[in-house]
Symmetry: D2
Subunit: 505 residues, 4 copies
């Protein structure tokens, strides 16, 4: 077989082409298609830097920028497609450039750069954007919970432990619990953002370069916070993705718990909430069905985000330092996890805004099954001077007796009698006061407790935190936007003929 | 807002439409697009059965079959698309049918069926096909290894433990190890196939039906081996998928180990193999690079298959019986795992057929680093009547001394001297014979050992097993094909006017 | 520092001892302590074989067997402990032997064997035992479900999909679903058993041996089904453990689902079951609590078994062939998974035997929320000749109207009127018949459906299968026992002076 | 059967005892045994607070503190054991207290507290301690790498991508890459610490309490940074553990990569390092073996830490809010992960301090296989004004030709000739300068590159960061110590008769 030399941009030393199936096996076009604009921005910044430090000429830069701009335009207009035989977004863009500008110009873009750092630039740019988007969605969901909380600081419902009635809480208290949890998710995303917003460009293949590049300049142009310095670490590590995936996993874990609660609250048996028809689903066979599919899918997709994290961790296990092609597989799980989490964050606010909480049913349940037994024990501690452990036993015994008789606390006379049998005399009105779920609710004024005063205080606090977080998200989005604008303005100047040394960087 | 009644096929009790984003969140069009033909076959079999037992009329059947056939044709021709607003493949096909045949006919297809069992039919049909395809690919890879083995039963290479030279083995012995492993993977896929090839149809929503359906008939028409009987178990369980994913995970685990070995064997340091240029890749920055990307991606995609398994297991954890929408998420990981594994199986045979094993280097390594030390100890046991533990210590001591002197066994005189110091007198030719890797290879004639006779015997055995397995794959594929043909022939008869009771089932 | 030569049995070539912390890091004493008896049996079989084929003498064998027997006795009596500084069970036993019998005898045991195959013998022996024990526990649980099923073939309860009332089923039908699931778990354990019960001994380090060993003889003495032949495959692979862990994971997944159902059925809201006080737990603070901790822990420990599987899979990813020390980590997850699963199987039968199913509540729920709507639609199909899809819409509309009016089907007149509005005239007694959950139950006579006849038939079938499976378990346990006895009898003969060639093997 | 009332402290409403196997199934004694001292400290702080706010009397407090102190002492002296029938550490300590002080005193400790918040106190206290210990170990490992780096800023070795020679780097550059990675691990542990060091006490069962507790006081006494306020969030969430497990997983992932590199560097083929005998292992059968078991186990235990994370995530999936017994399973994976990571951190510093890097071999490899090809291309860019892409192709072609001829760059005349064929004239000394690995190393002066100046600068920077981190660890450890001392001083005052209102808090 006569050897046909490789036509790849990297094919100098190769005598033959790879096979089509090999091409298919290794290409990353679908995954890369999310990064075209980011890849081009990265290249623009790199080219500007190369010219500014004198590695390429003004004319080189002009040609490169002209054709990069055109590539982006053509991609947007659907005229420039990523081709699998060009392997990845980088080679596709460079090919477009070389075809347009000729190799004497286009062939200069890849000076002092490797795909190893280039792909990281793209992944960092997409990741930071998606983190901010996820934070926005999470914050929006928090706002819905806070609105629910404000309305329901006095709405009594049973608080559960072991899915058994424990103590009365308010619906508002329940709603703020999720906010309290999500705020930590937002902070974890913050920490991941800090890692994502570091500049990998300039690490080159793994060792930096002998060209006098200026990594601070590309950092500025791409809106990164700082340089991720150590070149070998840059190329070898993917913890910015792993940490993002962990933050998404915890968030999704919390969403799955909400899903479970919605599923059960909307059962006939619990009857604590009814979904709006716009957020419920029927059955193809059972005409009466009204199903909580969104809640179920939220719960059911949790594994997908967990497994995205596991996928990357498995990948990294035992990998030697330096770039290994295994690392190409870092993006599919990340993209998928962002999609899953963001789609959940997209539908849940509407579902919660339209859900009909059945507060009467909640009150009924809170009153039905000894949920205030602790309060009776506490009363005996306070008023009777008995040890809590003894009061616990007394009240436990009374509950046991009532259950055997098929009665509840609301069978006041029996309850009174059972207390009397144990040497405790309480008038029925007093008993009713002690065992009233609403009064119990109000009395739980300890820091972070379920009392309306505490819940209101916490709602205020959470709103303040969300204000801050949202301001931070906007600041960051604006910063990214501004950096992109700055790059575009420089390009405009250059294309208009301004020498790069005179351009306003 | 005036309520607009639901237009869903299940929408009878609903007062309003779900929102578009909710539709997007819940639809499964992309995933379902692999199952259109299978869904139609399932419906054809169901309709034939309904008519045969008298639930629908001959005319009903004719109309249904006519339009189902047209749906498949239109889908193939790109004229019938799955629409997200119709949720899934089932509702899309039923809508097509009702539009074509009218509700008085098309509306009868879903009698005595639910999407709950219908989607399982589709998933079972796809899974069994893909399992067979995966087995074919695995068997093909085994054949390549066996071809390598036949050529290299006498090719000496170092066998490694702890990635250190352990004892000489043959390249053929190494190659057959993978075959021995893959044959167990093939058997695991077999067990998964047995689960997949059970008929879920007729489980209906979760409880069976009061219609007098004939599940044995649909079993026959769809080419299933048997009925999966218990309706609630059918609807609740996904172990046929989990077991498939586990079988794929083990297979992928074995492939990742092959990937690792190819990566290291093709390093400059090991130098035991060189990839053909058609299966190697260059670098965008380093002109000299020739990288084993396929091996790396095979290793790196292992986590994707593992995580597909984890995804499903997480999903199933703590799920109450009956259908839950969470279960819709069973297919994305399965499709993805099949794709990943099959693509690896697609490229690895070619890579191995063209790889250039450097047998001289292997021989050199096998001879360089004391790999035959055990043989010397064994010799002392056999000839000297010493306890193995003592011989081990003697030879260990000699190796230690040689290493300190910067020598190896091949410094015959030093070796002889060190033996003599320990009271053992051996002529150099004898020593050379004992320590010769090739002779050591030949001597390992224990059952399953590395000797050429054993490897040849095992190659024969593996070929026999692969012959059987491949015959079985073909038998199964033929059986599926035959069942499909039988269904089509019945359809032809029915459309030609034969009453179903007279049709040849 | 003057070098102090290694005192390890393998220390011939080493000039110094490893540090204590290194010893601690690498030793596996705790994990190995489960395998002492198995290790000794393995060594006894190996020694007998060595003597029978003439590798060691009758006197060697006698000495070895005498001290191995004593080691086991001393271990049982707490006089022989595994010491961490001897690394593992193998080196501890060999040291005991050498100390007792002297190196001239004891030092011969390890001829033609490596720790690589020896540890596999131990792991295989323990695994097969534990699989059988797990199968016993699973079968016991199935029997409890079958007893429940027999009592409750006519006990109506709501069948759930999406955790919403779907169609009436019987409690017996529900109970048999688990049996149907567990029987597949038993089969998966069977497949794992088949892998575990293969003999790895004789693979030696990785290449077999030049000694004329007889692997069939050790297979027979150790009660294995067959030889696992390919030495390199034997040493490199751990799929017998992975497959066991997957079988345990699926089983645990099923148990976690049972756990979830118990948690919810015993809520105040569902009220479908009450735990016996012997299987329920109180709260340290809330005197009224009665919590389903066992069900929760069963659900909560699911992740532990999943993660045991993941642990091993992660370990195997990208591992080159041959023994790698990573593989020592195969046993901790396996032991842990067996413990978790077996402890669940230990408590759940008692919990289910004593649980109080609230059949009145079940009947009430089955009747309360339109669970028979499908039956009304089916009736209209059968009697009205309408298409199912149309009937579905009609009944769906009626349910929607009733819900809006705050009514149910049992508001017969309203239901009748709503049907009439849609042109369907039904007398109330007829309506009551159609919508009666008990009658609906009886009518679901399709294969595998919820009708009493089907459930009874399935119970019979499952009992037959369990009889077979339990017989198989006993046969296997007897076989293992018999093999051990055979080994002990040979030992007795040898110690009594019978030459091994005359011993009755 | 006559009912025997429950003897549990929570047994008031129970008529019978749980069974022994149920007790075994649910108890957590082994896991809890790590938390006895922490549990007692938590109870001491709680009791002091109860008295200070007037919920219990000075005499109550004295009695409680006396017996808690004695419990700790007896535990330390091995006189007080945790008994499984008392379920957990909390009930064991409370029983001890009640037995000693009588229920009239001891029974008051559990006022305004639940085991739900109590167990979280213990877990938080242990977790923060263990995080600090893990950070210490990580920092120690970093110091070893920095010492290596300082010695080897000019030691040339091949830098690898795709495990193929890429470009020359220095051994010091390689060593600092790990430090750069570990410093992010340290920060992740920091973030986990911040979560762990929040006070859960006072959340009570799930809703706070009606007693006027002072959560700020217990925060101070227990040395927490702040109150974790929202009671329901406190009780429901375990992200402080999940985040810790993720931080440990990433750290372990990085260690596994180091393990892989040590395994391969110490192969005969790479020969870049030799382990000291104190950190290497032999074989039971092959006398010549010297195995890198520590590196292998470090790699092989990675899955154990990953799976600990997965275990908890699986547990949390779909769990309703409030305490569920599933959450008891949060600690076994955490303890195990800490043990595994810390043991790795215990042995690796010594292994690296004693490893013998073979710098000659490294230099040889860096020079053998075209690792400086990029430098030649860069030279052509700089001097020839050619586009990088063109230079890449030229050099690639030359490498391809040399490989075919069996030559390397060091065949200077051939290299010169091949350049000349492509129109480039270079004197051999110039060529030697360009292709010299050491000079290449020095030229990579870009920020974060491999040049000695950059590596020295980074070493300085890392040392500064480690100084800070270690100072922070010590500050935190001192703070914890100081808080404990403060608690003990208060106890001393109280036991000496000081009324709590006069005690110096």
């Amino acid at each position: 077989m006569p050897t046909k030399p490789s036509t790849k941009l990297w094919g100098g030393r190769f005598n033959s082409e790879i096979t089509t199936e090999t091409e298919d096996f290794t290409q990353s076009i679908e995954v890369d298609s999310r990064m075209v604009a980011h890849d081009i921005w990265g290249s623009q910044a790199h080219a500007i830097m190369l010219a500014r430090v004198g590695i390429i000429s003004d004319e080189d830069l002009r040609q490169i920028l002209r054709w990069l701009g055109k590539a982006e335009e053509d991609f947007r207009d659907g005229k420039f497609f990523l081709k699998p035989e060009k392997e990845d977004v980088h080679m596709n863009v460079e090919s477009y450039l070389i075809e347009g500008a000729g190799r004497e110009y286009g062939g200069k873009l890849h000076t002092a750069r490797s795909r190893n750092d280039q792909v990281l630039v793209d992944a960092h740019l997409v990741t930071r954007e998606q983190i901010l988007r996820t934070q926005e969605g999470t914050s929006r969901l928090c706002r819905v919970f806070l609105a629910i909380a404000r309305c329901h600081v006095e709405t009594v419902m049973p608080g559960y432990t072991h899915t058994q009635h424990a103590q009365p809480i308010s619906l508002g208290f329940w709603a703020t619990a999720y906010v309290s949890m999500f705020i930590r998710d937002l902070k974890r995303l913050d920490a991941a953002y800090a890692l994502a917003n570091m500049n990998p460009l300039g690490a080159c293949a793994l060792a930096g370069t002998s060209f006098p590049i200026d990594r601070h300049l590309t950092t500025k142009l791409l809106g990164f916070d700082a340089v991720h310095e150590h070149a070998l670490d840059v190329i070898s590590s993917r913890d910015f993705i792993a940490e993002t995936l962990f933050a998404l996993s915890m968030l999704m874990s919390n969403l799955s718990r909400l899903g479970e609660e919605i599923v059960y609250w909307t059962t006939y048996e619990f009857g604590m909430a009814v979904l709006d028809d716009t957020y419920a689903f029927g059955s193809s066979i059972m005409p009466q069905k009204k199903n909580p599919d969104i809640a179920e899918l939220t719960r059911g997709r949790c594994g997908r985000v967990y497994s995205a994290l596991l996928d990357l961790l498995t990948n990294l296990k035992g990998l030697p330092l330096g770039y290994n092609r295994d690392l190409q597989e870092d993006k599919p799980p990340l993209w998928d996890a962002f999609d899953v989490v963001q789609s959940c964050l997209g539908v849940l606010p509407g579902l919660l805004e339209t859900i009909d909480f059945k507060t009467d049913r909640m009150a009924e349940l809170a009153n039905a099954n000894f949920a205030t037994a602790t309060e009776l024990a506490n009363y005996l501690v306070r008023e009777g001077g008995l040890a809590f452990r003894e009061c616990h036993e007394i009240v436990g015994g009374i509950v046991g007796d009532l259950v055997k008789m098929g009665k509840t606390f609301k069978d006041w006379e029996e309850t009174q009698q059972l207390l009397q049998n144990r040497g405790i005399n309480l008038a029925i009105p007093e008993l009713q006061r002690i065992l009233d779920p609403k009064l119990a609710l109000h009395s739980h004024r300890s820091l972070g407790g379920t009392s309306p005063t505490e819940v209101r205080r916490m709602v205020d606090g959470f709103e303040g935190k969300l204000d801050e977080l949202e301001a931070q998200i906007r600041t960051r989005q604006d910063g990214i936007q501004a950096a992109h604008q700055r790059t575009l303005q420089i390009i405009e100047q250059v294309l208009a003929g301004t020498p790069i040394m005179e351009a306003n960087l």
